[in-house]
């Protein structure tokens, strides 16, 4: 019976993230539109887009290989796995033994690798540009991400997300400069990974500026729907990761009582709303960078993460 309950909660998390991901994207769009004094699309717009795309026929390029058709499913699966492993409303989920931070980054990294392959597969020049830029960004973002993970793991003594969240929730964390630096670096990496504004504009189809959109330009129909959904899921993963590592307050303990679980879901929703508003404000306030300035931006994240690791050693003995 206990096992069945645990399974139910784990699948509840899987469905919750799947349901919330388009809502989060729609929410950020809506807040951005309101900040620009536009009405903006309704919150349900991303769902409608997905349903419409699902109904449409797939148009494949003549010289697309089998890889091109398989990749959307693979990317969606990898991102969904990552999203369902990050603790959101309850720590100690059934599969949380596999929710290792390094493993989650590896899963997301392999999804990105296949997306870059898909960009190259159809042989169009835009896809090539997009893939090469994506790989350039990735080659800078991933070392930074790993340094952040090392810092957090050194502080929390584990790379297990549930354990880390429990440690961050305990009073023994205190105020640490390494954690602050890690948070800033993680936010920079999250912005770059999710193709948000200073690095890439998710709403544009201008050929000179796009990175993510250039890679998926050849996709249509249900393939495109899956890729859009995984992009939304990826945004949610990074939100949940930041919430779980740096703001684990209100997360429900490993229990099957309905009341704490509801409270956990409510806290998670509140965190997403706060994060979404902050992201929208940030994106409205800042201009997009030139592609050649991105290494400097991500380099700063790498430096901050390295510095966080170094400063961690000063406070080691206390």
């Amino acid at each position: 019976m206990a096992v069945i309950r645990e399974l139910a909660i784990q699948s509840m998390q899987m469905l919750l993230v799947l349901f919330l991901a388009p809502l989060l994207t729609g929410f950020v769009r809506k807040v951005k539109a309101r900040l620009l004094r536009r009405q903006g699309p309704p919150l349900s717009q991303p769902y409608r887009d997905l349903v419409r795309l699902m109904r449409k026929d797939v148009v494949l390029a003549d010289n697309a290989s089998w890889l091109f058709r398989v990749i959307p499913y693979f990317i969606f699966a990898a991102t969904w796995i990552a999203a369902s492993l990050v603790p959101t409303f309850r720590s100690g989920l059934m599969f949380s033994w596999s929710a290792d931070l390094i493993a989650i980054i590896a899963v997301l990294g392999s999804a990105r690798f296949f997306l870059a392959l898909a960009g190259l597969d159809a042989g169009t020049s835009f896809g090539g540009i997009g893939s090469s830029r994506e790989v350039m960004i990735a080659s800078l973002a991933e070392p930074a991400m790993l340094m952040i993970v090392f810092t957090l793991a050194l502080i929390a003594g584990s790379t297990q997300l549930s354990t880390m969240a429990a440690f961050m929730n305990s009073p023994e964390v205190g105020l640490r400069v390494s954690l602050g630096l890690g948070l800033i670096a993680l936010i920079i990496v999250a912005i770059a990974e999710n193709a948000r504004i200073p690095v890439d504009n998710p709403a544009t189809h201008l050929e000179l500026t796009m990175v993510h959109e250039a890679m998926v330009l050849e996709y249509s129909g249900r393939h495109l729907a899956l890729i859009e959904l995984s992009a939304a899921l990826k945004l949610l993963v990074y939100f949940s990761l930041i919430a779980c590592l740096f703001a684990p307050w209100g997360m429900s303990p490993p229990t099957t009582e309905p009341l704490p679980l509801m409270a956990g879901v409510a806290a998670y929703g509140a965190k997403l709303v706060v994060g979404g508003v902050l992201l929208a404000v940030f994106e409205t306030a800042i201009a997009k960078m030139r592609v050649f300035r991105v290494p400097g931006f991500l380099g700063a994240a790498l430096m901050l993460a390295l510095l966080a690791t170094l400063l961690r050693f000063v406070s080691r003995s206390f």
């Binding site: 205190g174 105020l175 640490r176 400069v177 390494s178 602050g180 630096l181 290494p295 400097g296 380099g299 700063a300 430096m303 901050l304 390295l306 510095l307 170094l310 400063l311 050693f313 000063v314 406070s315 003995s317 206390f318």
Partner: protein, 220 residues
């Protein structure tokens, strides 16, 4: 030392190192001056917190000196100078931002290694303060080495001095007289350098230090 007091001291001293990195990252002069003002502000906060934590009231005076001179007077004066020299929009570096930051990380690592080895049995607060102070000093030196423009070299010098003040407050027992005289000598150095800037500019029509290398016949 209780946890929170120590944590806040650690946080402020650590942010001073971070501000030094922000200085290294900035390549525009006017932004650099803003960052320098923030650097001095963090220093003042950190010194004031040390005054509170060590129950040493004379450190409040040091904090006030840092706040008034370095966070307000010197940045305002520097801004006037660069506007008068007409270089407030200039961008200048010898090495790029990336290598400079890498060098900076190396220097921070070096100072951590040195300080943590040398001061193994010191008071933890003084120990980490010394480690941070040494890295701020080294980063100030790095700033002076990697910049071409005399104004940003001055800023590097001033932030180096901020590191010295941090070391002095952590070490317990630097007399107030010494601190005040250091603060004033920095101010005087600033005035002298300011006058020099105008002289250099009169002579060479630029404050780019490469022009002086050429003048001495060291380069081509």
């Amino acid at each position: 030392m209780h946890g929170l007091t120590f944590d806040i001291a650690h946080l402020l001293a650590g942010s001073l190192v971070v501000m030094s990195f922000v200085q290294l990252y900035q390549d525009r002069l006017s932004a650099l001056i803003n960052v320098f003002a923030a650097h001095a502000l963090v220093l003042a906060l950190s010194v004031a917190w040390q005054a509170f934590a060590q129950v040493a009231p004379h450190l409040y005076i040091t904090a006030a000196i840092a706040l008034v001179f370095k966070a307000i007077i010197i940045p305002v004066a520097l801004r006037r100078i660069i506007v008068r020299l007409g270089i407030h929009r200039e961008i200048e570096t010898v090495v790029g931002v990336g290598p400079a930051m890498l060098l900076g990380i190396g220097l921070v690592a070096l100072s951590m290694v040195v300080m943590l080895r040398v001061t193994a049995d010191a008071d933890p607060l003084a120990r980490e303060d010394l480690a941070f102070a040494l890295s701020v000093v080294l980063l100030g030196l790095l700033m002076m080495v990697t910049r071409r423009n005399a104004v940003s070299q001055v800023i590097g010098f001033m932030s180096l001095e901020n590191g010295l003040v941090l070391a002095a407050t952590g070490a317990k027992g630097m007399p107030l007289v010494v601190e005040i005289s250091v603060a004033f000598s920095v101010l005087i150095a600033f005035i002298v350098i300011g006058i020099f800037l105008f002289r250099i500019r009169e002579r060479f029509d630029t404050v780019d230090m490469q022009a002086m290398d050429r003048f001495r016949g060291e380069q081509r």
